[in-house]
């Protein structure tokens, strides 16, 4: 089936065995995002750390209800951003957003995106793009809140540059 171009094995793997699922302590910000079309939801926590004077992603954990694409995408996102500086993670997030908005015409940067490149096929199905973005948008929002919050104060000088 053509649909297998979307449901790549790596996506189904992440769906069946999600990484970093289950909310963890400590965290600097928590957000709750909903896809109003289908009611899918994600609660996501971000913990930041200082990495040589720059804000970095110490941890991301989440709890989510949703379809295979939204679940797998959240799992892949955590793998992609944990351990990166916020600046690097935002670059990856930006590249993923661009890939999703490409309608399948982009040539994704595999070095930058890692497993997230598997979502290339999703971009051909406009109805599913919101599913793929749910976790990423929640992470972006939580990270912005963490940078603004008291926990991010110490990192603010570097965080504002991202």
């Amino acid at each position: 089936m053509e649909v297998e171009s979307m449901y790549r094995e790596i996506i189904l793997d992440h769906y069946r065995h999600p990484h970093n699922k289950g909310l963890r302590e400590p965290y600097d910000a928590q957000v709750h995002h909903v896809n109003p079309l289908c009611g899918d939801e994600v609660t996501l926590r971000v913990a930041l750390k200082d990495a040589a004077g720059e804000a970095a992603v110490a941890d991301v954990s989440y709890d989510a209800l949703g379809c295979s694409i939204s679940q797998a995408s959240a799992s892949v996102m955590t793998e992609a951003v944990i351990g990166k500086t916020v600046r690097e993670a935002m670059d990856i997030s930006g590249a993923f957003l661009e890939l999703m908005q490409s309608r399948g015409a982009a040539e994704p940067d595999e070095d930058l995106l890692g497993d997230a490149v598997a979502f290339e096929g999703v971009a051909k199905y406009p109805a599913r793009i919101k599913c793929a973005l749910l976790g990423w948008m929640a992470w972006k929002d939580a990270t912005a809140q963490a940078l603004e919050g008291s926990a991010g104060a110490a990192l603010r000088s570097s965080g504002e540059q991202t």
């Binding site: 289908c38 379809c67 295979s68």
Partner: protein, 436 residues
């Protein structure tokens, strides 16, 4: 003139008069059913509950209006204006005949959603309208009663009305099998109840609530009754004189008609006393800089240039459906629904939401598949050319009450076949295999 449809069935299906319900002949009237979808597969359209397809008779009626009679109804001092007005008012009479109403009780809106909002906003506008609008006033201490089964279109406007006026929103719950729970009716319908809004057929479970019974309880307390007919009027005979309700809302696009036009039916004496919702041209009597007076209904509620082409299309849709016979339409859908309930219900891991028999149940079959999210079910079905809806179908509270976030929904109409039900069932099995 040709744009004005008549109740004689001239725009009816080509099959009319041959066999009572010849689905092959009916399908030939729907050009879109001839196209293919992903992978060159034939289209299996099971999403008529969201919007129905249009037969060429309806398309022709709209085209004929634009080709021959296009003009602003109720305005032009010329022949085309007269013809446009005839088409529009002819459509009003045609729709009235379709539901057993008087033409003066038919208000054209842009949608069923707008029709429901019209009543809700008229009620808050009643606070500052004259004494004749007393009946519509609600405020602190008053209650508006809805149900947990409603489409958001018949829920959110009442939430908003309560927010604007200080009235209290209350609701009937649903039972585990997706029926309306009337066990607390005596507690819910009281002298404080000013309005009851209830669906005439659930867009998720197909459940047909006892609207006449609820309306009798409500009217005994002096409450107004609004029925959401978006899923009933297209699918079975509806006669407003037997309905018991004071208002009925429905939309053209779900009943083979064009998008962009809906209907509010209201009892004449209520429409006469009701203040306007949207104001502007066409709805005024006299306008001075200091203020204006308004026309009687239905014009009072139809500000702006009327959607005459869409009205002509809706009239043709009424002709088409009446030529088939609404009893026959209902029987056809009941057979498809029974087939789907049996065959889907027999698949291990599939749970059907709502009633499991066709008793007091229309042709919407929503279901969940264990371990597979509705989006994923819908995606695989789409790959097979089967169009369904996969989310909460604008009835989020109902899904919550039935213990799920979302579902996959198949809905049936005049052009659907038993082979298409079989395709759906096989598609669901294939989905399970894919995700196992």
């Amino acid at each position: 003139m040709t744009a004005t449809s008549t109740p004689t069935g001239q725009a009816g299906p080509a099959s009319a008069g041959a066999r009572p319900f010849d689905v092959t002949a009916i399908r030939a009237d729907f050009p879109i059913l001839g196209r293919t979808v992903r992978g060159g597969r034939p289209l299996v359209y099971l999403d008529s509950g969201a919007t129905s397809h249009k037969p060429r008779q309806v398309l022709d009626a709209e085209r004929d209006f634009y080709t021959m009679h296009n003009s602003a109804a109720h305005r032009g001092a010329h022949l085309l204006g007269e013809e446009a007005t005839d088409a529009y008012e002819g459509a009003r009479a045609r729709v009235a005949a379709f539901i057993g109403a008087d033409p003066g009780e038919i208000v054209f809106t842009k949608s069923a959603t707008e029709a429901l909002n019209l009543v809700a906003y008229a009620m808050s506008n009643a606070a500052t309208a004259g004494p004749q609008a007393q009946r519509f006033r609600v405020g602190p201490g008053d209650e508006v009663l809805v149900t947990e089964m409603e489409h958001h279109a018949n829920l959110v406007p009442w939430q908003q009305l309560c927010q604007r006026t200080g009235a209290t929103l209350r609701w009937f719950g649903v039972t585990r099998d997706g029926r309306l729970d009337l066990s607390r009716a005596d507690d819910l319908v009281t002298d404080r109840t000013r309005l009851v809004a209830v669906t005439h057929q659930s867009n998720v479970t197909g459940t047909i609530p006892p609207v006449a019974q609820i309306a009798a309880l409500a009217r005994a307390r002096g409450a107004l009754v609004v029925a959401d007919g978006a899923q009933s009027v297209p699918h079975r005979p509806v006669d407003v004189t037997a309905l018991g309700a004071d208002f009925l809302a429905f939309s053209a696009h779900k009943m083979l008609g064009p998008s962009g036009i809906g209907v509010l039916w209201g009892r004449r004496e209520l429409l006469e006393a009701m203040p306007p919702f949207i104001s502007g041209g066409s709805m005024i009597e006299v306008v001075r800089m200091e203020g204006s007076t308004f026309l009687p209904p239905p014009e009072r509620f139809e500000a702006g240039v009327p959607a005459a082409a869409q009205a002509a299309g809706l009239a043709a849709a009424c002709d088409y459906l009446d030529a088939l016979g609404m009893e026959n339409v209902a029987a056809h859908e009941e057979a498809l629904t029974a087939h789907a309930l049996d065959a889907l219900g027999a698949i291990p891991g599939v749970r059907i939401l709502g009633p499991l028999t066709t008793e007091q149940r229309g042709g919407a079959v929503s279901f969940t598949v264990d371990e597979v999210h509705p989006h994923d079910v819908g995606q695989v079905l789409d790959e097979l050319g089967i169009a369904v809806r996969a989310n909460h179908h604008c009835a989020w509270p109902l899904h919550r009450a039935l213990g799920t976030a979302a579902s996959t929904r198949a809905t049936f109409y005049v052009y659907n076949t038993h082979d298409e039900v079989d395709a759906l069932v096989e598609g669901v099995r294939q989905t399970q295999r894919f995700f196992s």
